[in-house]
């Protein structure tokens, strides 16, 4: 039996590798180290590294993932700073000014307190708030509303006629064909749509889809939703709010200074889709589908200016048969003892700040 005492052992240095072995090992170690670095950086470069290892890249990729998949497909219109500094660019800027403050920059043709950008958010750029880049490439197109092929000019004329209630404007109607208002607005839309194929409806067009509600939309429930979520900006009476100079900050949703009975927004399904995807501002999606339908029913069951097609001795009953039988709205119904669709006396529509008087209105 061999009993080894420490002192009996060969000294540690005894089997030290020879010089040559050491060199080989150093080369192997350094080479392997370098190879690891190269491998590691390749892995990171190709994005194969697990997200918890790489701080910033992880944040970015999760942010992209949060971007709700479909958003990745959404078109991004060019930035305002990309408007060219030439004659065309000036037209684009004028169009943008009309879009943002329609009552000022297309003064003669606006009969209420709204601007295009009240519903087409972010100056007409926001997806699912009927962005103009999604509308421009699909015109001209046939519209059953007026049973003809509409050019973009026809379409904008419709906006002025109904949503901007041109019947109560200083000129009494929408801009005439060929007006610079159309020219500048179209220049703005055209500029914004750069790069999109024509004839194809892009993702983000219109107000987006909304599911049918589980329960029949209810004005009563809608009133509660409105008080809790909308009144802080649009006012408890839905008449919007102005700043100390009388400039409209929050648009009125019904009454004589809002959109009329011919506007798309008077249809409960359209309003519900807009609300679901865009309201309350900065908190889209906060309201449930049912709440969006309920509050849309509440908003759209108030008196507003009459349908401008309802001229002469055409009654609300006629109007209902002619234009309002096939869609979802309160036109022609009697709510709280008021027949909806009769509008307001012309005086009260024109009374507000139309031309000279600026006392609020």
């Amino acid at each position: 039996m061999t009993r080894k005492h420490p002192s009996d052992l060969p000294q540690p240095g005894a089997d030290k590798p020879s010089r040559g072995q050491t060199t080989v090992r150093v080369i192997l170690a350094v080479g392997g180290g370098l190879a690891l670095v190269v491998l590691g950086s390749l892995v990171v470069d190709f994005g194969l590294a697990p997200s918890w290892l790489t701080g910033q890249k992880a944040a970015r990729s999760t942010a992209a993932a949060d971007g709700e998949g479909e958003k990745a497909k959404l078109f991004t219109p060019p930035d305002e700073s990309a408007i060219p500094d030439d004659e065309f660019g000036q037209s684009v800027r004028r169009g943008m000014a009309i879009f943002l403050d329609t009552g000022t920059n297309a003064h003669d043709f606006v009969g209420n307190d709204l601007s295009c950008s009240n519903c087409h958010l972010d100056a007409g750029r926001q997806a699912y708030s009927a962005p103009m880049w999604a509308a421009y490439p699909v015109y001209p197109k046939y519209r059953s509303k007026n049973k003809m092929v509409n050019t973009m000019e026809d379409r904008i004329k419709g906006c002025f006629t109904y949503s901007m209630n041109a019947q109560a404007s200083p000129s009494g109607g929408p801009p005439p064909y060929g007006s610079d208002v159309y020219r500048d607005l179209q220049a703005y839309f055209f500029w914004m749509s750069k790069g999109l194929p024509t004839g194809e409806k892009p993702e983000g067009a219109g107000f987006g889809k909304i599911d049918k509600p589980e329960k029949e939309p209810s004005r009563e429930r809608g009133e509660a939703v409105f008080a809790a979520n909308c009144a802080v900006c649009h006012g408890a009476d839905g008449q919007g709010q102005k700043d100390i100079n009388g400039k409209v900050v929050f648009p009125p949703l019904w009454g004589p200074r809002s959109y009329n009975w011919g506007a798309g927004m008077h249809k409960v399904d359209a309003a519900a889709a807009f609300i679901k995807h865009n309201m309350p501002l900065s908190q889209p999606g906060k309201l449930s589908t049912q709440e969006a339908w309920d509050v849309a029913a509440f908003v759209d069951s108030h008196p507003r200016p009459k349908d401008p097609r309802q001229v002469g001795d055409i009654t609300v009953e006629d109007g209902l048969k002619k234009w309002h039988h096939s869609h979802d709205g309160f036109y022609g119904q009697t709510i709280d003892g008021v027949l909806l669709g009769t509008g307001f006396p012309q005086e009260s529509q024109a009374a507000a700040p139309a031309a000279g008087d600026n006392s609020g209105g």
Binding site: L9, L34, E80, D122, V249, Q283, G360
Partner: protein, 432 residues
């Protein structure tokens, strides 16, 4: 050989044995990792020092730019500068094209008043602001314009006014900064122009102006000795409001400017401090000692105050980015423009949306951070929580700095306070 060892059980280990480890080579992979880490460390060091150098260079360039921007003489063409200043300071209300806003803000483009008064009239209006009816192109506006004396220097005012007069109203000549300095001296400390009538009496040749309105009746609440005492010297164990918020309600650093905030907003904040729905130890202490009457009186006191701006951009925020967030928003991160709710130029919309203009950047940025972190949570619908979270630190500083650069809010007109004080402001016809 009769030693003790011999008696020992041979199976037992030798007592003299001491454990030891045979020398083993360190495995190669350990060397690889160590060397790889060392190389990575060196690379990171080099990269970091490099980016620090780049940042230093950028900062130096930025500082150099700042110096040129504030230098008395600038190489930038006056016209371009005037346009940029107009966009940042005036276009918020008057529009990018100077068209004003129907029924609210008079136009500058083709304005008969600017045509008649030239750049000098523009400067004199900007230096004092307006509080009263003013007629432009035959239309009377109930004007409430801030004064820019505290927000813009002589050179900036000269550039803006020259731009307005020459590009919008066809004037041949602008105005020199030295002339602006003279006008500033002459008009120093004066109240806003009481509408077009007073303006017409100072500048000859202006188009016909509406008569000067009767001065607003003095408000009993504001004048009451109680409020004066509270504000200036405090009462009982409560210290004076002015000791932190300043004698003009101008605030400083993280203490907010109060002058010109909507009365209902001030009252709500005091109530929230009282009830603990907004946290601040000092304010909770003060608010709990206030009676309901005192709260309403203080709110009215500050709402009608017009105080020059003492706020200056001081957080090194990117003003262009701040202007973008305030005026257009950044919808890619779900942030609408500040001005969508807080009103054009950040004047506020009573009762729920406070003025932002000329607020101290440290206060604004801090509140945004508090909304984001949840330590402030008293905004209607929780609107500000989402906004605060969507903005990162750089954006918060940018927007706070831009808002600090604006002219102060032209105070709630005394005659309108009663209407605005009501919880539902129906502005129909109450403006005059």
């Amino acid at each position: 050989m009769m030693s003790d060892k011999m008696k020992q059980d041979p199976r037992l280990p030798d007592e003299t044995f001491e454990p030891f480890e045979e020398s083993r080579r360190i495995p190669l992979p350990v060397y690889w990792i160590a060397i790889a880490l060392a190389i990575w460390g060196v690379i990171m060091l080099v990269e970091t020092s490099h980016s620090t150098q780049v940042a230093d260079k950028e900062r130096a360039a930025q500082n150099a730019q700042d110096v040129t921007a504030t230098a008395p003489v600038t190489a930038e063409p006056a016209a371009a500068q005037g346009h940029a200043l107009f966009t940042a300071n005036c276009a918020t209300c008057h529009g990018d094209l100077g068209a004003g806003s129907t029924g609210a803000v008079p136009p500058l483009a083709k304005s008969d008043l600017v045509q008649a008064g030239g750049a000098e009239a523009v400067v004199r209006i900007a230096l004092r602001g307006i509080d009263g009816p003013i007629a432009v192109n035959g239309v009377t506006y109930n004007g409430h314009m801030p004064n820019f004396a505290s927000a813009l220097d002589d050179k900036q005012l000269a550039a803006i006014s020259s731009h307005v007069a020459t590009s919008f109203a066809g004037a041949k000549d602008g105005i020199e900064p030295t002339k602006v300095a003279e006008l500033r001296k002459a008009d120093a400390g004066k109240d806003p122009w009481a509408g077009g009538a007073e303006l017409a009496s100072a500048i000859t040749g202006l188009p016909a102006q509406p008569a000067r309105p009767a001065p607003a009746p003095a408000m009993a609440a504001t004048q009451s000795a109680d409020v004066e005492t509270l504000v200036k010297t405090g009462a009982g164990y409560i210290w004076a409001c002015a000791s932190c918020h300043g004698d003009k309600g101008q605030g400083m650093e993280t203490t907010p400017r109060l002058a010109g905030l909507p009365a209902a907003y001030i009252a709500k904040q005091l109530h929230d401090f009282q009830q603990g729905t907004r946290f601040n130890d000092s304010m909770a202490y003060v608010a709990k000692a206030l009676s309901e009457e005192q709260i309403q009186a203080l709110a009215a006191h500050y709402a009608v105050m017009r105080a020059p701006s003492t706020a200056r951009p001081s957080l090194k925020g990117d003003l262009a980015r701040g202007e973008q967030i305030a005026r257009e928003g950044d919808w890619s991160i779900g942030v609408p423009a500040c001005f969508t709710c807080h009103g054009p130029s950040g004047f506020g919309v009573a009762p729920d949306f406070p003025a932002l203009a000329a607020q101290h950047p440290a206060y604004t940025a801090r509140q945004l951070a508090m909304w984001a972190g949840g330590s402030r949570h008293n905004s209607p619908l929780g609107l500000m929580a989402g906004i605060g979270k969507a903005l990162n630190d750089v954006d918060r500083r940018a927007v706070a700095d831009y808002l600090a650069s604006l002219a102060p809010v032209p105070a709630t007109p005394k005659t309108e306070l009663a209407a605005i004080d009501a919880s539902i402001p129906v502005s129909e016809g109450d403006a005059q």
